[in-house]
Symmetry: C2
Subunit: 193 residues, 2 copies
DNA sequence: TTCGCAAGTCAACAGATGTTGATTTGTTGG
DNA sequence: CCAACAAATCAACATCTGTTGACTTGCGAA
């Protein structure tokens, strides 16, 4: 008991996790092609070669950033009634504040979707883990269309706010709640059209 | 008159235009970072160095792709009444068909917005040449918010269809017009909310 | 024809990219 | 204390990136 691993300096799982976290941050701010493996390794204070060792390569790392998080991409306790609130809440978080992990995944995917290598991974996840579950959750006649439309709405608002860095959606109203109310109205319009 | 330039093999303006066109096509399908200058030059059948000569560099070329087209980014004869139709039409064109030039610019911007260098140019154009004119066109109380929301809606649908390559919005209805009708309803909801 | 100039090519640069194998270093079990 | 093994580093690779200067070639005017 004297030698309990108090401060392990060579911890494989810890460094692996650190690399994953650093990559997450980088990919959230720049596209797949813009981020270099040396940037990520530098953030952790580690040699580049480790990334190759642990993740096989850049694609492997990116893929794991998108899939390693155990938490579901869609809220679990989401019913047809609470859905507009949920989605609206998700998309209106303070840009500079700590974000919901689902929103972070969303941003990462939006940022790198145009890179051929990253695009393949992203399109699969978008389809299997977001669109399809969303459509199932919605159910009914034109569930596919509604799910696609909801996703488009969320992506549009997200792209505008984070990628295009426009703040024209936020501060144009007398109160924040009034703005959210309008946005929620749109989500409801899609669901009930 | 015997030597009218029937087939000019060394035409500066023609090759310049050809390079510009090739770049346009490339940037429409991949992101700024993914596209190499040698790819573009190869399409035209020309040496890479010419791009540097004519456009100063990659950023210059990209900037000119986005600004060289004289045609306006927003329809000129667009009134408050015809706006939903216009925007809806713009965003629902056949993905494989020949696209409206405004839609093409839109896609190019969406694709490369996450690349730091290209992003600067894009955000300026988005703000000055699209968002502001759109808000002016709308007018009234919360014109800024409405313009942003319209843009978000258009971007979302565009990203979903072209970047994410989802076709869940198109073929889920009994008729194409029914799908468009619903989408137009959303645009109207934003404008009249 | 011949000259000049511009159009276009060639070659090489300097830097960054992802990736790989050999090597060092720290830790742990005997 | 000392081997053994994994963690981490080092060094170099091959390739691709955008960019630059010197070179060649074709066209048109005199």
């Amino acid at each position: 008991m004297t030698k309990k691993p108090i401060t392990r300096r060579r911890d494989a799982v810890a460094t692996r996790a650190a690399i994953l976290a650093a990559a997450h941050q980088r990919f959230m701010r720049e596209s797949y092609d813009s981020v270099g493996l040396r940037d990520i390794a530098g953030d952790v204070g580690v040699d580049v070669a480790l990334i190759g060792r642990y993740f096989g390569g850049k694609e492997g790392l990116f893929g794991e950033v998108l899939t390693s998080d155990e938490r579901p991409l869609l809220s679990e306790g989401m019913t047809a009634e609470t859905m507009p609130d949920h989605l609206c809440q998700l998309v209106t978080e303070d840009v500079n504040a700590e974000r919901d992990h689902r929103m972070e995944m969303f941003i990462i995917m939006l940022r790198s979707a145009s890179s051929p290598k990253a695009g393949k991974i992203i399109r699969r996840i978008m389809g299997d883990d977001i669109l399809q579950p969303l459509a199932d959750q919605i159910g009914g006649e034109s569930a596919q269309w509604r799910a696609n439309m909801l996703l488009a709405l969320m992506m549009g608002v997200s792209v505008l706010r984070t990628v295009m860095e426009s703040d024209g959606l936020n501060c144009m109203f007398e109160s924040e709640s009034a703005y959210k109310e309008r946005l929620r109205g749109l989500f409801e319009a899609v669901l009930q059209a």
